[in-house]
Amino acid sequence: MTSNKSDSKHGRFQGHFAELLKVEGKLALREPTGLAMGIGFPIILLVVFGLIGKAVPGNVAGTGLTVLDIYVPIIMVIGFISLGISSLPVTLVRYREMGWLRRVSTTPTPPSRLLAAQLTLNLVFALVTILIVIFGSELVFGAALEVSIPYFVLSIVLSIAVIFSLGLVVAALAPSQTVASGLSGGLFFLLLLLSGLWIQPAIVGEPLATIMYYSPSGAPVRALLYSVFNATPPLTAIVTMLVYAPIFTFIAIRYFRWE
């Protein structure tokens, strides 16, 4: 290591960010509610729909897809919702409420680094969920996915951007942990409904089908469904996400309070 100034500054940044990430990771393991929701819940859903898919083989409503095939994108998006809507904002509001963000802000390290560490950690968890769902459905339950890597990566990035930024809106607007829990709980079930966990847009009819297609959880499911079967995602799904993500991000940044 040279004693070059920018070099040492860079090293310092990595030092404290690595330390923050390590500490946040340990805390997440000590209080594993978020992990259980973000990774455990998708695993349970995968097993349930994997078994249903084996019991009811074949073709759902003439689409050529099995029950599990249809649920692969839904389960992934539910994983993102659990992490981004249930876990992330409640943790951040709790940190704000207990003065942790303020305490960090009294050091030369900006508290935004703490937020970045939380985001990074949840992104890692999301990645784990994606891998479990893809490989679990293929290797354990024999789903015949044909993942189109470019479309899949694009759909995943946009899905996570939409859902996590919506979670940050909750963190920004909720004045207390109680309100945050209530808001994220309500939003959680609404998004689960719109993702198609209980009802499929293809069979509910209008106007609910359209609402689902253009919702912050339905659009990601639609884009992902096409990209795991080697098809081009519908432009409307991509555009919908491209509209949501910056709007949510803007609101979250505009209204976020550190204290």
């Binding site: 310092r12 030092g15 404290h16 330390e19 923050l20 500490v23 340990k26 805390l27 000590r30 209080e31 940190y95 207990m98 003065g99 942790w100 305490r103 960090v104 050091t107 030369p108 390290t109």
Partner: protein
């Protein structure tokens, strides 16, 4: 603080935030909390929590540390330990600005003391100087026979008199004990059980804030 964060982790984390931090382990040892290094924050006692916040304030090697109401709510032993820490920080060359309502704390720890009343600086000086100037010294004794107030007020330096059972306490300035003994001996009164002490900050605090408040009231009335 996150309730499940461990003491050692917190100090190490904060050390990573600063360019030239102190050695986290050494600091924990100085603060006497190396035993609870692996305890989570929620398991700490009030005194340990307080010492951890001091650790987090000092780990960055600051030139100045502002500590606010540090010992409020601590038991006497934890208070004493906290005082020792502040003294050790001071001895290492850290300028400590301590905000407190406890006069004994200020008297023991501070080199210079500012008294602020209703947002206004009333006095700024060494604690001993403030105490001596504003509180006056007190001499308590038992006279061999009753002495009336008039005689006592005639003694040079005496400003106030308090009586409790057989004890007489005079408050005033100058070499009070010597003049009390001298003057009373001259009229044939001997004093026993004598106890003299310099002015203390408690007295000074009351006197200075009362003066200040009454001055404000006067100004309001005029």
């Amino acid at each position: 603080m996150p309730p499940r964060l461990k003491v050692g982790e917190a100090v190490k984390l904060f050390a990573s935030f600063y360019p030239n931090p102190m050695d986290p382990d050494g600091l924990l040892e100085t603060l006497g909390i190396e035993k609870v290094k692996n305890s989570t924050y929620r398991r700490l006692s009030g005194g340990q929590k307080q010492r951890l916040s001091i650790a987090l304030a000092l780990v960055g090697n600051p030139k100045i540390a502002i500590l606010d109401e540090l010992t409020t709510g601590l038991d006497p032993e934890a208070r004493r330990e906290t005082w020792a820490l502040i003294e050790s920080a001071r001895d290492r060359g850290v300028t400590v600005i301590l905000v407190t309502h406890f006069m004994d704390e200020a008297e023991r720890l501070c080199d210079r003391l500012a008294l602020i009343n209703h947002g206004k600086l009333v006095v700024l000086d060494a604690p001993e100087a403030i105490a001596a100037h504003a509180g006056g010294s007190r001499v308590r004794f038992v006279p061999s026979k009753p002495v009336d107030d008039k005689t006592l007020y005639a003694i040079p330096g005496v400003k106030e008199i308090e009586r409790k059972v057989a004890y007489v306490t005079v408050i005033g300035t100058g070499d009070l004990a010597a003049s009390v003994i001298d003057s009373l001996a001259r009229i044939g009164v001997h004093v026993s059980d004598i106890e003299a002490r310099g002015g203390n900050l408690d007295d000074a605090f009351v006197k200075l804030t009362r003066d200040d408040t009454s001055r404000v009231q006067e100004r309001l009335q005029s």
